[in-house]
Symmetry: C2
C-alpha cells in the first residue's frame, strides 16, 4: 500500500500560475485607476500597494517597476481598442454601420481605466524602449478607422474627403472623452456615444429645409 | 559749463528691460520648440541653452527653472487661443460664421509651438500650484465654444444638441491636430481647418438625395 502523502500547503504549479496572473491583473487595474485619479507622476508604488492592502515588496513579485505597470496599462487599453474594432470590422456590413459600431466600442473603452490611460498618458511619459510598439498599436487603430471611411466613400454613403483627415477628426473627438469623462457625470458612455454618432455623422448644422413646391 | 559725462557702456534702464523681455521670449519660444520635438521630460535646460548659444547660467537670468518655462509656454498658448476666440466672438455675426472663424483660429494656434504645448503637455506634468489657473483658461475657451453652439441652436442653424457635448467633440477633434501635425506634412494649417470645418459642420455622411418628383 503506497504511503499516504501529507497534503502540501502550496497549490499545484498550474494553479499558482493562475493565481499570480489574477493578482498581477489586480495590480494593473488598481494602478490604472490611481493614474487616472491622480496622474502618473503623482502616483507611487506605495499608493498602489496601500489600495491593494499589501506591502510594496509584494508588488515586486508581480511587476518590475512603475514603468512596467504604465506600459502594461496602456498596452491593455490599446489591445482592447484593437480587438474591439477588429471584431466589428470582421463582422462586415456597410461602412456606416461599422463606423457607428466602432464609435460605440471606442467610447466605451476610453471611459474605462485602461482605455483612459491610453488617452491621458502622453508618449513623452512612456519609456523610450516601448514607444515604437505602442505607436504601432495606435497606428493600427487609426488605419482601421481610415479603412472604414475609405469604404464609406466608395459605397457613396460618406462625403468625398481625405480619409486620413476624417479618421483624425473622429479619433480626436472620441479620444478627448477619455480626458473629460467622469463616472457619475451627466451621461453614461452609451449616451455619450449616441450624441457623438449624431454629431460626427450628420454634423452640427441643421440641414437646409427643402424649398416648398 | 557742466562736465561732459562719459558714455555709459550700459543701456538705459527702460531699454535694458525691453531687451530682457525679448531675450526671455526667445528662451520660451526655443523651449516650446524643443518640448514639442523631444517631449518635456527629455528636454533639459542645457538643450535649451545650447540651441540659443548661451550657457545654462545665462538662462537663470530670465527664468527660474524648467517648470516656470513650461507654465509660461502653456500659458502663452492658452492666452493666444483665448484672445483669438474672444476677438472673433466680439466681432459678432451669425453663430455659424463665428464657429468657422474660431475653428480656423484654433487650428492655426495648435499648429504653432506654444499652442502645441497646450495640447501635448498633460495637466499631470504641470506643477500643482499652477493647475487651477491653467484650468480656468481652458474652461474659458470651452465656454466660448459652448456659447457659440447655444446661439446657433437658438438661431435655428445648428441641430438641437447638448452644447457641452458638441463643444467637447469640436475641441477634441481640433486639439488632436496639435498631436499629429508636423510642419511640411500633406496640408498646411489653413487646408486642415477647411477640411475640419466641412467635416464638423456637415458631418461624414453624404446627405440623402432628394427623391425625384
Amino acid at each position: 500500500m503506497p504511503k499516504r502523502q501529507a497534503p502540501s500547503p502550496w497549490a499545484p504549479a498550474a494553479q499558482r500560475g493562475q493565481q499570480r496572473q489574477i493578482k498581477r491583473d489586480a495590480v494593473l487595474a488598481t494602478a490604472a485607476q490611481l493614474f487616472n485619479e491622480r496622474g502618473f507622476h503623482a502616483t507611487s508604488l506605495d499608493d498602489i500597494a496601500a489600495r491593494l492592502n499589501v506591502s510594496k515588496p509584494t508588488l515586486y513579485y508581480y511587476v518590475k517597476n512603475k514603468d512596467e505597470i504604465l506600459i502594461e496599462c496602456v498596452r491593455n487599453g490599446l489591445q482592447m481598442m484593437t480587438d474591439g474594432i477588429e471584431e466589428k470590422r470582421k463582422a462586415g456590413g456597410k461602412a456606416i454601420d461599422q463606423l457607428i459600431a466602432c464609435i460605440r466600442i471606442y467610447t466605451g473603452i476610453v471611459t474605462l481605466d485602461f482605455g483612459m490611460c491610453v488617452i491621458r498618458i502622453s508618449d513623452d511619459e512612456m519609456p523610450a524602449v516601448n514607444r515604437a510598439e505602442l505607436r504601432r498599436l495606435k497606428s493600427g487603430i487609426d488605419m482601421a478607422f481610415r479603412r472604414i471611411i475609405t469604404e464609406g466613400i466608395a459605397e457613396g454613403s460618406f462625403r468625398p474627403c481625405d480619409p486620413k483627415m476624417a479618421a483624425f477628426a473622429v479619433a480626436g473627438a472620441l479620444g478627448w472623452i477619455g480626458r473629460w469623462y467622469e463616472n457619475g457625470g451627466d451621461y453614461n458612455p452609451e449616451q455619450i456615444a449616441t450624441q457623438y454618432i449624431e454629431l460626427l455623422l450628420n454634423g452640427i448644422l441643421q440641414p437646409p429645409t427643402p424649398s416648398p413646391g
